[in-house]
Every structure is written in C-alpha cells, then in structure tokens.
C-alpha cells in the first residue's frame, strides 16, 4: 500500500493536519509523543494505538471503543491513575517487535465512536490534558511527520482478519521469504488461494499448462468466458488474479524438470501438487537433497459402477530435512503408463480444496502457527468413512496398541 493512500484517508489526514504524530503500521493507527502524567507526577511521552477496520481510502467505523497504550499507566495531575479509562494491563504483543502495556476502555456518549478521528482524539485528550495541567507546554500536537508507509507488507490493503483477531504476531510466523507451488491444477490452485492470504513474501508458481475450461470448475473464484478464450498460461492467469490483493506472486512458465531443478534453490517451502509419478520422483529427490521441506498432495476418486457414487481419498505428506524416510512408502513415484490398470483422473473441486487445506494446515503447523501435538507427517482423508488418519508421527508418544 502506498503512503499516499493512507494520508488521503480523511480521518487520518485530519489528525495529521491538527499536528498529531500519526503513523500507520501493521494495520494499526498509532499516535506517538502523547504527553501523560506518571505516578511520580512527571510528564512522559506515550503512544496510543488502535487497530484499523475497512480498506484503504475507506475506513470503516472503529470495531470497538478500546485502544492500547505504550508507556506507564497515565495519571491525573495528582498522580492518581485515570481509572475512568482502565481496562487491562500486561505485555500485549500487537505484532512482532511491538508491545503495548495497557488497554484502555472509555465509551463515548452514544456508546460508539463514529470514526477514528474522534476515537483517537478522545483518548489523547483525556491523557494529555492532565499533562498540560502540570506542564502548559506539553502538547500531543508536535507536527512531526512520520511517513505512514507500510513497507514490507505484501498486501494491498490491511490484513484486518488477523488484526481484528489480535493474531498478527502468530501470522508473522508464516512470513517466509519464498514459497513455491509446483503444479497449478485443482489442488495447487486452492493451495495458492490459501497461502496468498498469508504474509509469505514471494509465492513462486510453476506450471507449463494453459488454463482451460475444465480448470474453471476446480479452482477458486469464477473465470469469465472471455478469460478462458484468451487461453492464458495457468501461472499468468493466477498471478494476475492474486495481484489484486498482494504483491509477490511470481509466475514461472514451464514444468519443473531435470533441466531446471535449480530454479527451486532458495525456496523455503514447496507445495508439490503434480499428477505425474515421475515428476513427483524427480522433484522430491531434489528437494530432499537440498534440504527443502515440502508437502506432497495427491487424491484418488474412483467411480463405484454399481451405485454410481464416487469413492476415494486425499493424502497430504510432509517431508522435511528432519524426517523424509517415510516419503517413498506413501507417495506414488512410478511411471504412469497407459497399461496401468484402473487409471482414473476424476477430480472434484471440494476434494481438491480439502486436499489443499490439509496441506496448508500442515505447513502452518510446521511453521508453528497451529499447535501440532503429534507432528504427523502423513495424513489421509477418506471420503467413504469420513475419516482423517495420522501416521508417521514424531510428536507426543502414542500409547501402543496391539
């Protein structure tokens, strides 16, 4: 997001015009250098912080009436704490490297603040008026300009899903430099959809295929007929779509083969979403030799001719530098000959999406975003049983069963 877009927001602009030291960072609005009275009746400077709601240029109403504060608990000119704003105190990590000490709660008349200007102004005034009583020169209006850029953010608008839930410090565990999706079929496209919404800096897409009509029925979103007629490369099609939301989606034309394996050097995590057993073998061997962790996915849907129902499962297998011995037992890596008995290629979007979600959840567990009690490297969902099984665990010891 550009600094200009934020400055052009009328609420923030107004605060800035009045001289408040405004900054926008990690989906939050900060006012720095707010003078307040300490319990020793001295004047110190603190920071008032609120999370932001809405999109660039069009902020929504504040989602609540509370703010955070960086500093000691502010007092009246007498040195007694301002109890009217007290909510809670503790180390509150808002995002990596940024911690607030207090949360304030002060409802306006009517119950809600109409906008961020009135919300921030209210708290700053309550706090700094006491400081001015001690030191008439103390003012929050320093007119110091902080360029409110969100450098380093991949998103074109704030990740308010994380800031609303106060899980930005958890989300940051996913902010890897480079992740790759190899194969943008049904499952790979849903993988992309899910990881595009995480703060991964670069998502490298590898596929040599054209986006065709059947792909539209097992990928996220809704392609128009005109998009299909243009016969775009899959990687270009997806790079363009996700460009609406974020930066860093990088298309690589062509399949990954023996000849270009080193294109994967420097990738931190790979989602291996290919159909071909031989491609799976070539790529997985290379990733293992380079110590690049990956999740391999695969599904099989079979038609039961007797009752015309589909049956089958989807698999996601994690392979890391710490554990890869299991991979060859679970992932088919042979030739897919035409004489291969019973070969089918039925795929349905919901199972593609589920397979992708299981793979992405596994990656998030590997990164410490989700808890992972058993650290299962093998996971299988079977439609017929509605069952999800875990194997190849390295976590907690499971009671032995005979």
């Amino acid at each position: 997001m550009s600094a200009n877009q934020i400055v052009h927001n009328p609420d923030i602009r107004r605060l800035q015009d009045e001289g408040y030291e405004v900054e926008v960072s990690n989906g939050h609005l900060l006012i720095h250098s707010v003078p307040y009275v300490t319990s020793q009746r001295t004047v110190a400077l603190g920071t008032v912080v609120t999370d932001l709601n809405g999109t660039i240029g069009q902020l929504g109403a504040p989602k609540d009436h509370q703010v955070w504060f960086v500093g000691e608990f502010p007092c009246h000119q007498t040195g007694a704490p301002i109890e009217a704003i007290r909510h809670s105190t503790g180390n509150m990590v808002l995002w990596g490297g940024f911690t607030a000490q207090h949360r304030f709660s002060n409802k306006p008349e009517g119950g809600n603040y109409q906008n961020y200007y009135s919300k921030m102004k209210r708290y700053v005034t309550i706090i700094s008026n006491e400081a001015q009583a001690i030191d008439p020169a103390a003012t929050p209006c320093t007119f110091k300009l902080i360029v409110p850029a969100e450098e380093g953010s991949v998103f074109k608008y704030w990740d308010s899903a994380s800031s609303r839930a106060n899980i930005l410090p958890v989300s940051e565990k996913l902010a890897m430099d480079k992740v790759a999706v190899i194969g943008l079929g049904g499952t790979g496209s849903y993988v992309l959809d899910l990881i595009a919404k995480t703060p991964v800096k670069e998502i490298h897409l590898f596929d040599g295929d054209v986006f065709e009509q059947h792909n539209a029925f097992r990928s996220p979103g809704a392609a128009t007929a005109a998009m299909l007629e243009a016969k775009p490369n899959k990687v270009d099609y997806y790079a363009q779509i996700y460009d609406s939301m974020r930066t860093g989606v990088i298309p690589h034309h062509g399949y990954v083969t023996e000849d270009n394996l080193n294109d994967l050097d420097g990738i931190g995590f790979v989602f291996l979403c290919v159909d071909s057993g031989l491609a799976r073998k070539t790529i997985s061997l290379y990733l293992r030799s380079q110590g690049i962790p990956f999740v391999d996915v695969g599904m099989d849907l079979m038609l039961e001719p007797e009752n015309m129902r589909l049956q089958g499962f989807c698999r996601s297998t994690l392979c890391t530098p710490e554990k890869s011995d299991h991979f060859d037992r679970y992932a088919h890596q042979g030739a897919d000959n035409d004489d291969d008995l019973y070969r089918t290629n039925i795929q349905v979007a919901d199972i593609n999406a589920l397979n992708a979600a299981l793979a992405v959840i596994k990656w998030k567990q590997y990164r410490g975003f989700y808890n992972d009690h058993y650290v299962a490297h093998q996971s299988l969902y079977t439609i017929d049983f509605h069952s999800l099984t875990r194997d190849e665990t390295t976590g907690a010891i499971i009671a032995h069963e005979n």
Binding site: G298, E306, A331, D340, L341, D384
Partner: protein, 89 residues
C-alpha cells in the same frame, strides 16, 4: 493371549467378509497385509517399489487407519477398505 500369535490359534482359518472398494470379499485368516488388500482390490495389479497404492480402512468396532507395504491389520467382520493411488492433483 499366547494363542493369538500361534499358527494354529483359533481364528487363523476363519473366513471373514470384508468390503474392498465397495465389493464384498471373503478373506481367510486373522490378519490381512497391505499386499493382500491391494490384490483383492485390483487382481493382477502391478506391484513394485515405485508403485505405491494407498490403502485405508475402517472397522465398526475399531480405529480407522492406513496401511503401507510391510504392514498388516487384524481383520474384523464387516471391515471396509479403500484402495487407490492418491496421485492426482
């Protein structure tokens, strides 16, 4: 308990009906291996180191699970197996 592991223990020659990929199959014995399940699903299927089938099972009174080459599981009446390749994406 000791009898369970003996060659001529009761149950060793018992015939059980299991469901493999939707079809009822008769199986004689106490434990069924990965390879036996694959052969029941796909008689004459090519087996080899690089050909990996995915074998998953459930049973009405037990735990769901997955079998890989070298593993087996106790057979129970009415147990259901699904066998395929899990190689599509």
């Amino acid at each position: 308990m000791q009898n369970e592991h003996s060659e001529d223990a009761p149950g060793q020659n018992k015939t059980t009906t299991i469901i493999v990929n939707g079809r009822p199959r008769e199986f004689v014995g106490h434990k069924i291996t990965y390879l036996e399940v694959v052969q029941l699903a796909f008689p004459g299927a090519t087996m080899g180191e690089s050909v990996i089938y995915t074998v998953t099972y459930t049973n009405p009174h037990g735990k769901d699970g997955e079998l890989v080459n070298g593993q087996d599981v106790s057979v129970k009446e009415g147990m259901v197996f699904i066998v395929g390749k899990s190689n599509r994406s």
